[in-house]
């Protein structure tokens, strides 16, 4: 069975650098940082105080008027996905019920699907606190009082704000996309696993168009403290938050939390050509694997799962490691993770490792959890189109045992035929995707 060809026709990114791929790319070009001292709550009592927050996210800007009431049911994670999906679909020049409510849609709803990854959405603790107030007895939580009085203070539709499938559901409703729809919840690999599965869905004829990626808000008190408990956060740069997250740098001491969404519009090639779509590039290969993680918190030193995912993606794309113009790595800025990932990537690149440029984005926007790998994939696509390599922000001194050509200092122009984006989770899951310049 011949697999159909799949191209990228729209890109949407919402992050600390702003909303839309234009704002994102401009931020990268200018070397700006979307990471600041956290403002959505007072981080003073937390060991790590920096975060990549999206400025002025007003979800009502991103949904048609008729849908604004439903926006009350959206957690931040959902809002990020909805905003990014809107920008991506507009970027693709596609008219839907959401982007052009008064016009005839461009898409067949049954042949258009959604695959948006999500994380563990944290419930609003201030909202909960106000209700729990009614259930306190002698300074402790009382189940009896909670059932009798406290619960009634919670809004009836409360749960719907926090279910991870609601990101994809809202997007499907807003844009009337009735085709295949999944919600991948695989931590920091979610965004790329979602795009990869969407790629396969179109390849096998399950849809013509897929809106795919991931989103998460980790800049919450619970999100922040969880990452700190796992020892993944920088704590030494609270006075200079923009410089805290330093992927592959000798002075790295951990990552920073971020919030963000990466969404791409994937389209079957002939469908894209028939409507005269602008083609960013072609998705040529995808692979996924697993690192063996000892006790589930220490990375596999050689990151063989990273190597295998890359090899699978390159093999499917029929692209030799030497033909790669750039690797967009996960680069969490957790030193042990970066070391392991570097080894895994170097193994996949073989003798080309030292000549293949490598970059990572978390220094600009923080770690957006389920959105991270999709933001990175979007970056790979934008790099391919702009033919410019963004440096790893805050990497002033790449670690000596890296063996890879980490792009640091100023960015640079480069002719590019193929870019690969890869990711991993601290639970072990890995994924990689090759995007290539599209030729007939």
């Amino acid at each position: 069975m011949t697999k159909r060809r799949v191209v990228v026709t729209g890109v949407g990114v919402v992050s600390g650098l702003g909303a839309g791929q234009g704002a994102y790319w401009a931020g990268l070009r200018a070397g700006r940082s979307g990471v600041r001292r956290i403002t959505s709550f007072d981080p003073g009592g937390f060991p790590s105080q920096a975060g990549g927050e999206v400025p002025d996210l007003a979800v009502n800007q991103w949904v048609p008027k008729a849908y604004r009431k439903a926006a009350k049911l959206m957690s931040r994670d959902i809002a990020l996905a909805v905003a990014a999906a809107d920008t991506a679909i507009r970027d693709a020049g596609i008219k839907t019920k959401g982007t052009a409510p008064d016009e005839t849609p461009d898409l067949d709803p049954m042949r258009s699907g959604v695959n948006i990854g999500a994380g563990l959405i944290c419930c609003d603790l201030v909202e909960l606190g106000a209700a729990v107030e009614h259930a306190v007895e002698d300074g402790r939580f009382s189940f009896a009082k909670w059932g009798r009085e406290g619960m009634e203070a919670m809004t009836p539709l409360w749960l719907l704000k926090y279910l991870p499938n609601m990101l994809g559901c809202h997007v499907s409703i807003i844009h009337d996309l009735q085709g295949p729809n999944n919600s991948i919840t695989c931590a920091e690999a979610s965004g790329l696993l979602a795009v990869g599965e969407a790629f396969r869905t179109i390849q096998r004829g399950g849809a013509e168009v897929m809106v795919a990626g991931g989103a998460e808000c980790r800049v919450t008190p619970l999100g922040l403290i969880r990452q700190w408990l796992l020892k993944r956060l920088s704590t030494r740069h609270n006075d200079r938050p923009a410089e805290a997250c330093r992927p592959f740098d000798a002075a790295a001491d951990g990552g920073v939390v971020g919030e963000g969404a990466g969404i791409v519009v994937l389209e079957e090639l002939e469908h894209a050509q028939r409507r005269g779509a602008r083609i960013y590039g072609e998705v040529k290969g995808f692979g996924a694997s697993n690192n063996f993680v000892e006790g589930l918190v220490a990375p596999e030193p050689e990151s063989r799962g990273t190597t295998i995912a890359l090899q699978k993606a390159l093999a499917e794309a029929r692209v030799e490691a030497g033909a790669l113009g750039l690797v967009v790595a996960h680069g969490s800025a957790v030193p042990a993770e970066d070391r392991a990932e570097a080894r895994g990537i170097a193994s996949a690149l073989g003798r080309h490792a030292a000549q293949t440029p490598l970059t990572a984005t978390k220094g600009y926007v923080g770690n957006c959890g389920a959105g991270a790998a999709a933001v990175d994939l979007a970056t790979a696509v934008l790099v391919l189109e702009a033919e410019w390599l963004p440096p790893v922000r805050n990497c002033t001194s790449p670690t000596a045992n890296c063996g890879l050509q980490v792009v640091h200092g100023p960015g640079r122009a480069a002719a590019l035929g193929h870019v690969v984006s890869c990711c991993h989770t601290y639970g072990g899951q890995t994924a990689a995707m090759v995007v290539s310049r599209w030729t007939q």
Partner: protein, 444 residues
Amino acid sequence: MTRRRVVITGMGAVTPLGHSVEQTWRNLLAGRSGVGPTTVFDAGSFPTRFSAEVRGFDAARVLPPEARWHAQAGRHSGFLIGAALEAWKQAGLPFPLSEPASSRPADGPCPAPERVGVYLGAGEGPLDFDPFIAAVVNGWRAERHEMDWPAWVATVLARMSAVRELEQEPNMPGAHLAQLFKVRGPCVSCLTACAASTQALGEATELIRGGDADIMVTGGTHSMIHPLGVMGFNRLTALSRRNDQPEQASRPFDAERDGFVVAEGAGVVILEELDCARRRGVKVWAEMLGYGSTADAFRVTDQHETGRGGIAAVRQALADAGVGIADVDYISAHGTGTKENDSIETLVIKAVFGPRAYRVPVSSVKSMLGHLIAAAGVVELITCVLAIRDGVLPPTINLTNPDPQCDLDYVPNKARPANVKVALSNSFGFGGQNNTVVVGRFAG
């Protein structure tokens, strides 16, 4: 080139009706209910005080000695490990897989680790509730309507544990399995609410068909029997409140149904490419024939009143299977026991099957097991395989008051012999994601 065929070579389950597939099946055929008063937390003053719990299961007892650290797994991951070990053993796979360059002898016709993956519909883990709520209580300043974050942080750091927080993340159940079996193939988790493990089965089937893997450990797990989960469903008025008769509370298609019963548990199925199974010489239990996935794209609170998303998913699955409505011998319904789902699902079946809808038996094992949320789909698929194997249909119990809107043959109250060659299983998720799979007797 013909499409690669996908078969089932192992099954495992840990449910409110048993710690194995066979024990669960025996109880289902006997029409037993797994529902009872909630014991895992103090639900005494909640609107719904009952659920279907897994009783007396301790994952640490089934873990092999070299894998004891997996005992740190959350409650739901423990169920999953139990189910996965049962399925893996039934499939006769080496434990664990070995990498090509290892010093162990080659595993014969078993595929290399990068050809074996994991795909689960896995729920988030239950909150570590006591520390979580204590932090909220200690941090909350009612007079200012504010959280004192430093006070909140102090309680968190004193009482929460990194491992217990980690184990709540939705990729962790799959991470446990991938580490246990040492797989290097695609490892994915999804969480499309009540449709999740059916979706996992479908997508895992596609991964094998497309050549990304030869074996996929698939299924799901969930435990939403916890204070915020039950509260959330109660606030949505989705749960039955028949507190005086818990075993009769789950009443799919009955006129007096008043909501679903939350349950917990796990199911695992080993999906395998057919030639791979043949080379390994293992028994084939059934064949995955078709998969359909759609979205209602209507509202997050309700299904579309015409059942359009479900109709499309069923049709897609049948078309993918190359099977006509005349060939379907049994439908395992989503059948949650809510007013809305059961009427709309009945509409869906009538729309797709036409007059034949009255002659295809339909049953909902949720009447006995309750609703395992993300794990519901895989457990229901397992019951389809067993229906095929044993020639008997599990009943829909508690069906005593006919509802004019639900007038199909739901196999009321008693199991019934039937020759099942093809079965269809529906899972319709909150929010509008619909998934259907078709499974058939393996003819060779």
